[in-house]
Subunit: 410 residues, 2 copies
């Protein structure tokens, strides 16, 4: 049954799909050290106190603070040197009144001591004792048990994407394994009678399949596992078979649609034939990218992206990347790096549609400028020359020279 679709704003289009998306139930257990970029399935608290013994924050002498009270350059406190703390070993020397122990940064405070006097505030008396020339307060230069992190204190929350510091932090409390969401599998189906593989010499009327490769790299950058499927011709049964196989195998399906209207309609028909709810969006107020199709079939989001390479990349960034992040369990949008920059020239646009313009960024006198890179039909080359895409918002009729605009790195 053919449905009538009105063109939606990008935000409206995303809202149609969003309610269908929830994190994958597939969970992996990975070594924390190999967890870079993976997403936690649960909140994590520290199983231990950090540090788990009182540590010295300085090179100096462990002392009883009370023994240094009143000490000054003119009237130093004399303390008897009774040993040295060995790094990596329990402090076995116990400190009595009037005694000091040599200690290094990170060394364990010996029993009886409650402060560390910095080396700079002491004088060595022929190896048997020291003079302290500045009084130490109780706890000075000492990191107490649990001061950095208490047992049970929240460490990371569900949906966090592991960064280098998270790997270091988890390992520091002994968490050498983590539960993370499975990687989102994204099937990429290039379609079109005109496509040949990149290795082939295209004849007259043919072009190379490049979308599957560019989108595959984008999927990889978003933490997904791309699955490049073979080229499908503009044939209803072949496309249906391919989409069906992709829906079974992958978590997200992306059809890079043929470029003609009939080829795009075929994508919509095939998707609708595969089950409810089928096509949710057919047409977005967007340039490039208007003929985008967004669907949900067999429990999986299915996207029909325009065949034009730049349109395919921009719509992938707008709709497929957020879907990957949602399925992948991320608690907040991660990689969407937006900068503000001033336009170096007027950029025309049409109200009622979001325009994405490749731009090159340039810093002058500490301010960022965006120079539009205009292309011809294949905007892929403009994206190659640019550093990002500037967004002309829906309601604006263009951007004036000097006006500030939002640029997404690309």
């Amino acid at each position: 049954m053919p449905q009538l679709f009105t063109v939606l704003t990008p935000q409206q289009a995303w809202s149609k799909l969003e309610p269908y998306l929830s994190p994958l139930e597939r969970i992996d257990t990975v070594a924390t050290s190999e967890g870079l970029g993976r997403v936690l399935v649960e909140d994590i608290s520290s199983p231990v106190d950090v540090p788990h013994f009182p540590r010295s924050a300085m090179d100096g002498y462990a002392v009883r603070a009370v023994d240094t009270h009143g000490a000054s350059e003119g009237l130093p406190s004399y303390l008897k040197l009774v040993g040295e703390i060995t790094m990596g070993r329990p402090a076995t020397v116990a400190l009595s009144a009037g005694e000091a122990v040599l200690i290094h940064t990170g060394g364990m405070l010996p029993p009886g001591a409650d402060a560390v006097v910095m080396l700079e505030n002491t004088r060595d008396i022929d190896g048997s004792g020291i003079e302290v020339v500045r009084a130490a307060a109780r706890g000075e230069n000492v990191i107490q048990v649990g001061e950095d992190m208490l047992q049970g204190e929240p460490l990371l929350s569900r949906g966090s994407v592991l960064r280098p510091q998270d790997i270091g932090g988890l390992l520091s409390v002994g968490l050498t394994k983590v539960y993370v969401y499975g990687r989102v599998k994204v099937a990429l189906i290039p379609t079109g009678d005109e496509l040949v593989s990149p290795e082939e010499d295209p004849g007259m009327g043919q072009i190379r399949n490049t979308n599957a490769y560019a989108l595959s790299a984008m999927a990889f950058q978003s933490g997904a596992v791309p699955i490049r499927m073979g080229i499908v011709r503009d044939n209803y049964d072949a496309l249906k078979q391919a989409v069906q196989a992709a829906v079974e195998m992958a978590d997200v399906v992306v059809v890079s649609a043929g470029s003609s209207v009939s080829a795009r309609d075929m994508t919509a028909d095939v998707v609708n034939s595969l089950g409810e709810p089928g096509v949710l969006v057919h047409g977005v107020a967007l340039r490039p990218g208007k003929p985008t199709i967004i669907a949900f079939v067999g429990g999986k989001p299915v996207f029909g992206l325009p065949g034009n390479p730049a349109s395919a990349m921009i719509t992938f960034q707008l709709f497929v990347v957020p879907a990957i992040e949602r399925l992948g369990g991320r608690s907040r949008e991660a990689g969407r790096l937006e900068l503000k920059a001033r336009a170096t020239r007027n950029i025309p646009s049409t109200p009622g549609r979001e325009d994405f313009i490749p731009v090159r960024l340039e810093e002058r006198d500490g301010e960022l400028y965006a120079e539009p890179v205009f292309g011809k039909s294949n905007m892929m080359f403009a994206l190659m020359r640019g550093d990002g895409v500037a967004v002309v918002p829906l309601q604006k009729a263009g951007i004036a020279v000097g006006e500030t605009l939002t640029v997404r790195l690309f």
Copy 2:
């Protein structure tokens, strides 16, 4: 021979090392489709014209523009329909005066035609002919040979880091292989008598080795291949042997120094014993990170980073990442993403030193705010809670609430 070092500013410190760094001579040949993040060793121009045949930019009819001149709703031009262009095939139907051929977006313009009339501007006359209701100009809706990219036109320059669009663009002109700089190998040597491996339960006085893992993840993020070496004890000969092996095996060597002054001095002594020029920098006006050592030995940069986990990460970002990028052939700094944000509170600092403060970013009414995350001794946990680090410049005595500061994502 012990040398006297003065503490340098971060910029001065980098300038000491920079003249020694040049791109690796090791070159890899990789499939373009697998080239994401790799760095080109040469300028690349297009070997072909794109498109290599005249293509239709629309669904419509290929015509001779002259046959449509004067056409209007009231006085349409009648053209005889003589065929259809099959996608992916050479156009074999040649067009004569008064004729039209059905064509799809991306189809090859047939010989004799010089324009495409959009479907919307035509009426079908019982399958044998069409009425054109709007005149077409020569070249209208046609993408000429080489219009997107001419043979010989520059495509990408030496030192470019391949992004998804670059992969797509290279493949679109048939460049399925590229020459790229070898991946930079970074050896990470954790040192310290107090270290145990993350799987072990640290006893009193011991802590887990986490720096090698966090820095290894950072190296990976910068496109390098991290090599984690075993824990080295605070012993001159053991450290010398490890650094020597690392210098032979890797392109960059990072010693995560023991935390005491004597352990750090040992690193400097070991490095100096291995050849000229040896230690270039010993101490940087930086917090955290003051005791950083920067050296060049056996043709390789060697870094002695502070043992404190957060100090190690921040100095790695400041000095080791740029070195990796330089050796890796990048023509410009890539990943240093800096944002501007307003401080939510006063941040004290000391003039004469660059301060790096973990911050959490928050957007309110379209403006970005940076909330400092204060930590205790182990700032790794502050880095975990933050989104980046704010930089308090060298000459400033702090940042006032509401003042704009630079934040590096971390």
